[in-house]
Symmetry: C2
Subunit: 334 residues, 2 copies
């Protein structure tokens, strides 16, 4: 086996985020009318996207998508990465592709020439910094098995997948194909569970995947509890420890826990000024996986994740505003 060309390739729904501040009352009213659950992601269609956008405040647009954010953070640490995800041939698609390239991430998925516009995620940021996401998938759902570049996947140490892909049959097949190629090439597969409601929708699939096909799992407290339908975090952590090589479980202001074999490593939280939590989990995964691909110990990996997540929640938007490579010395010194 030759030396991998890429440290990591990520596959996800390519989305442009539209972030706007919103009041608690606005989100509560949207919940009553449209079942919008604060702090989670809902899938919406184009008609609803247009209607919701019309009600939202002044926005800031930036490239997003969970795995896309992770890849941008991973590259900001200095990792060599690629991304597979589909945008349309339109202005927002150009923005997404520009930002990947600007971050040094290879992104060669052919844009959709005709049909749906680039997908977008309408994000309401409440005064507590929590984000509530409403995703119109647009062109991103057109990603399919044909978009999975086998040589690319086989050439990466880690193939990183977002759980959100399971929301569409075509993307799910692409996801499965990518996982098989990675393992056939002797490389690792990482998965993020994405969202507790996403876990609800695909619980049996995800349980099977975690036990049989995933080497490194990312989940937050709500997601891992939902996966095993248990009431408390410790129970969930105990169950997952027997199923997956490495699990990195994030707990917001309580820090995170990394479980690797019989090792359980608690990573303390960092002091944070919370402006917008969008991208926190994505950047935790970026930091952790960068450390992992560089052969760092689990504690340092977890600390890198924490430092990146702490940076991204200090400003509006889901991607780094500083060079994450500068965090490495800080993590090593800790």
């Amino acid at each position: 086996m030759s030396e991998p060309l890429y440290d990591m390739v990520a596959i996800g729904n390519a989305l442009v985020d539209v972030l706007a501040h919103a009041t608690e009352e606005f989100v509560a009213e949207q919940d009553r009318q449209y079942n919008m659950k604060k702090g989670t992601m809902s899938l919406i269609d184009e008609v609803r996207a247009v209607a919701l956008y019309a009600q939202m405040g002044t926005g800031i647009e930036s490239s997003g998508g969970s795995a896309g954010n992770t890849m941008a953070g991973f590259a900001s640490f200095g990792g060599k990465g690629a991304y597979i995800g589909k945008v349309a041939s339109d202005q927002l698609g150009d923005v997404f592709r520009h930002d990947m390239k600007a971050q040094g991430v290879t992104h060669e998925t052919a844009p959709l020439a005709v049909g749906a516009p680039t997908g977008r995620c309408l994000i309401l940021v409440t005064p507590d910094g929590q984000r509530t996401m409403n995703t119109f998938l647009g062109a991103s759902v057109e990603m399919g098995v044909d978009d999975i570049d086998s040589d690319l996947i086989a050439s990466a140490r880690i193939t990183y997948l977002e759980g959100y892909l399971y929301d569409r049959e075509q993307a799910k097949r692409a996801f499965q194909k990518a996982g098989e190629i990675a393992h056939d090439a002797g490389h690792r597969v990482a998965l993020t569970l994405s969202d507790p409601f996403c876990v609800d929708r695909h619980r049996a699939d995800f349980q099977y995947l975690v036990e049989n096909h995933v080497d490194i799992l990312f989940a937050n407290e709500d997601e891992i509890k939902s996966l095993y339908e248990v009431e408390n975090f410790e129970q969930a952590a105990k169950i997952v420890s027997g199923k997956c090589e490495i699990s990195a479980l994030t707990r917001s202001e309580k820090g995170s826990v990394v479980i690797s074999g019989d090792q359980i490593i608690e990573i303390p939280p960092q002091k944070a000024k919370v402006v917008d939590t969008t991208g926190a989990g994505d950047q935790y995964a970026a930091g952790f996986l960068y450390g992992f691909t560089q052969g760092m110990d689990m504690k340092t990996c977890g600390l890198l994740g924490t430092l990146a997540a702490t940076e991204v929640i200090s400003h509006m938007g889901p991607r780094p505003e500083i060079k994450y490579a500068d965090l490495v010395a800080q993590a090593k010194a800790a």
Copy 2:
């Protein structure tokens, strides 16, 4: 004369901003190759816009345009406003129009159906927080005399114009028409000089305008010195005091000076964390003019401008991230 329907109508180049962090070296190299002057605005064509964008880092997109920013801030204070400026019928145009409407600003200028895309301003933010702007005007230059809604202008207490309009003959005529309508209706005309290089390009025109057609002038230190080709601020302030009813002159970290008849009021700066200076002058004008339309004294007007400018430089992007109406009590208590 009936009570005006609007507190203010602003006319400007409708642009979407693309903000990216950049190093001092990058800007210096662009200056060597393309005469990009740090801290100022350069006009660029579409080919250069594409080439520069390709070299820029990950961006954040938001609605911009100097007068558009001012109008957004003015509405955030609670002022009733309208905006005239031209975008294209494309995704970035939709973003611009959405953001105006979301801020409660009337914006009924017909978008350009065919031709240039929505104009954009590529902004490089250096580590010192300074912004260097590169504007591809796109559809915004297609605004002409026909887009000036006479009834709208006549119904506003203040018509606010940006100096940048003088860069194109068609927009300049629209500018002149608007000024005439406002004065014929017995209302006031405000102007911002926009940029020292913009003043260089149109010095004689601006001198004539300020003396004969402008009631309230906004300029920063470099712009007012450039207007009268003098070496120091005090000389420039003395000259302008004889020419214009009210001048509000901003001096960055030295605060601002408001000259009204024989009154000279010094407004101290506020403590600021500088992240990105984009929109500082625009929001100063927003605060000042909001106070003015509400009949506040000159000192309070200047303080409102200062508070708004201080907010906008504390984050990436040229428009409010808080409700500026909340600043009014603070200014009145000072």
